[in-house]
């Protein structure tokens, strides 16, 4: 599964990840991964977890090969082969020292180190920030392949477009609180479609009111403009035999839904 974790800057995304990885103790409640406590059983959990922090920094003296060798020694397994394969996909020279790498190259190395042991759970904190669009696509493809083979990817981002393109399920965090956690399709349904109906007659002459699933923002002359919530079918049924001259239904507008989550819109919760 590809799980998107969304929230604006300072919402608590990185803090949540740090609690999950046992860097921080929760001030309240507990965090569990694989049914194990994230603080007490942190070592066991991390055997099957790959992580790339949002602000990745690696020792400057290392090169890719040394890093793979040392990380492999720590994990008690040889990561060289899988690391080389990943380096090929990301087009990274493993002989270059971290101090000579650009930010994008360091990010690629971080991803290789997080992916090389094929973890059951991959926790990525804004992993594409320093990658060019080509490499972002390579990463997306890799993540899709991993998800298809049963791995779980926890993908933290503040970019809705990226999460929308990649994830099956999304959680939204705001001010340290989870305000949504559902399948992307369900969110799309909740988000609503922008709708514009042009009637053949003046609105005042219609003799009926909009149904509950259609919230009008503008009603003027012969035009209704608003948002359709829920599935499209009841809306189509509603319009049947009505004097419709023109109709425009936009795609689900996740952007505005997320904006509402972000902007403390109590109604949306």
């Amino acid at each position: 599964m590809l799980f998107g974790f969304l929230g604006p800057n300072g919402a608590g995304k990185t803090t949540t990840i740090r609690v999950l990885l046992g860097f921080l103790q929760p001030t309240d409640g507990t965090a569990n991964i694989f049914g194990l406590d994230c603080w007490r059983d942190s070592k066991r959990i991390k055997r099957d977890v790959g992580h790339i922090p949002g602000d990745l920094r690696l020792p400057a003296w290392m090169n890719g090969a040394t890093a793979l060798s040392i990380f492999g020694a720590v994990r008690g397994r040889d990561l060289m082969r899988s690391g080389r394969e990943l380096a090929g996909k990301f087009d990274l020279d493993l002989g270059v020292k971290v101090r000579q790498m650009s930010r994008g190259m360091r990010q690629k190395l971080g991803l290789i180190l997080a992916l090389a042991h094929a973890p059951r759970l991959l926790v990525l904190d804004e992993p594409t920030t320093a990658l060019d669009p080509l490499m972002q696509e390579v990463l997306h493809q890799l993540l899709r392949e991993m998800a298809a083979t049963g791995h779980t990817i926890f993908f933290s981002s503040h970019s809705l477009g990226e999460v929308e393109q990649l994830c099956d399920r999304v959680a939204i965090v705001r001010d340290g609180t989870l305000v949504a956690d559902e399948a992307l399709d369900a969110l799309r349904e909740r988000a609503g479609h922008d709708v514009v109906i042009r009637w053949k007659v003046e609105s005042s002459m219609l003799g009926f009111e909009p149904p509950a699933f259609l919230k009008l923002a503008r009603r003027e002359a012969n035009v209704w403009q608003g948002r359709l919530f829920g599935p499209v079918k009841p809306f189509v049924d509603f319009l049947a035999n009505k004097p419709v001259e023109d109709l425009r239904v936009g795609p689900p507008d996740l952007e505005s839904l997320f904006r509402r989550f972000y902007e403390h819109d109590e109604e949306s919760r």
């Binding site: 740090r18 990885l21 046992g22 860097f23 921080l24 103790q25 942190s42 070592k43 066991r44 991390k46 055997r47 977890v49 992580h51 922090p53 602000d55 990745l56 920094r57 690696l58 020792p59 003296w61 040394t66 040392i70 990380f71 492999g72 020694a73 720590v74 994990r75 008690g76 971080g110 180190l113």
Partner: protein, 271 residues
């Protein structure tokens, strides 16, 4: 302990160990040669002055009136401020690597995302610290032996007694390192941790030194770890300073353990 972490720590520690080790070899070789060679001249002229005798006594931490001779000058090589500064600098650098150094350079997140417990990190770093400590102090010993090769047999130090002094110095090194671990565990900035330990050591060094000149300080001189490193006594008698060594190990061990407990329990991440 974890093999990968030990390899990583060694690879990051060897440049400091090499530089400070070479410096210790050089300084000890020079002191080992110069001090006994010119000792006779010094005792005739310089040490006749009360002030100079006071300084010498302060450095050696013991009364020297009846001990002026080759052993006094040999022991000077093990309490010389430059030798102590180099050994302590190594202990401070090695023991502030984790967690203060890792947080400071922003690599703690990567380190802690590896499948190792914090105690494993702590023990692995401790093993590397102590191993490097043995290496640089063996370097000091080698330098001292090298320097004394040019002396007449009468002026050369007894090797077995010098080894006891070296072990005593290693205990002092452990004491400094242990305190440093504690400070590092409480800190997120390596520079701040190093400065704190440096100031504490300077204070304790001055306490031990000034206690020789100012009687009120004599009563609290036991608080300084240097009070338990007295090579002149060891070189003179050849007796093992078990009590001093145990006290130094306790001074180092208690804060080291406290540092480990704090490190294993505190919130840690890049700041």
């Amino acid at each position: 302990m974890n093999r990968g972490l030990i390899i990583r720590a060694f690879r990051e520690s060897w440049p400091t160990t090499l530089v400070l080790g070479l410096l210790l070899i050089g300084v000890e070789a020079m002191l080992g040669f110069v001090l006994p060679r010119f000792g006779a001249q010094m005792s005739q002229e310089w040490l006749q002055m009360d002030f100079a005798r006071g300084i010498m006594q302060a450095m050696l931490g013991t009364e020297i009136a009846d001990r002026i001779g080759p052993q006094m000058f040999q022991s000077m090589a093990w309490v010389h401020p430059v030798v102590l500064a180099l050994a302590w600098a190594h202990a401070i650098m090695a023991c502030t690597r984790v967690p203060a150094g890792e947080v400071d350079r922003g690599t703690i997140d990567v380190l802690l995302s590896l499948p190792v417990s914090r105690w494993e990190v702590f023990f692995s770093e401790t093993v590397v610290w102590l191993s490097c400590g043995v290496i640089i102090l063996m370097g000091a010993m080698a330098g001292n032996v090298l320097g004394s090769l040019a002396l007449s047999p009468f002026q050369r130090p007894d090797l077995s007694r010098t080894l006891i002094v070296l072990l005593n110095l290693f205990c002092l090194y452990i004491a400094v390192g242990g305190v440093t671990w504690l400070v590092s565990s409480l800190s997120d900035r390596r520079g701040r941790a190093m400065t704190t330990v440096f100031l504490v050591l300077l204070t304790l060094f001055l306490l031990n030194y000034l206690a020789q000149f100012w009687p009120p300080l004599e009563r609290i001189a036991f608080l300084s770890p240097l009070h338990y490193h007295r090579p002149l006594k060891v070189l003179g008698s050849g007796a093992w300073p078990w009590r001093d060594m145990m006290i130094l190990i306790t001074i180092g061990g208690a804060p080291w353990f406290a540092g480990g407990v704090i490190f294993s329990r505190r919130d840690l991440c890049t700041v």
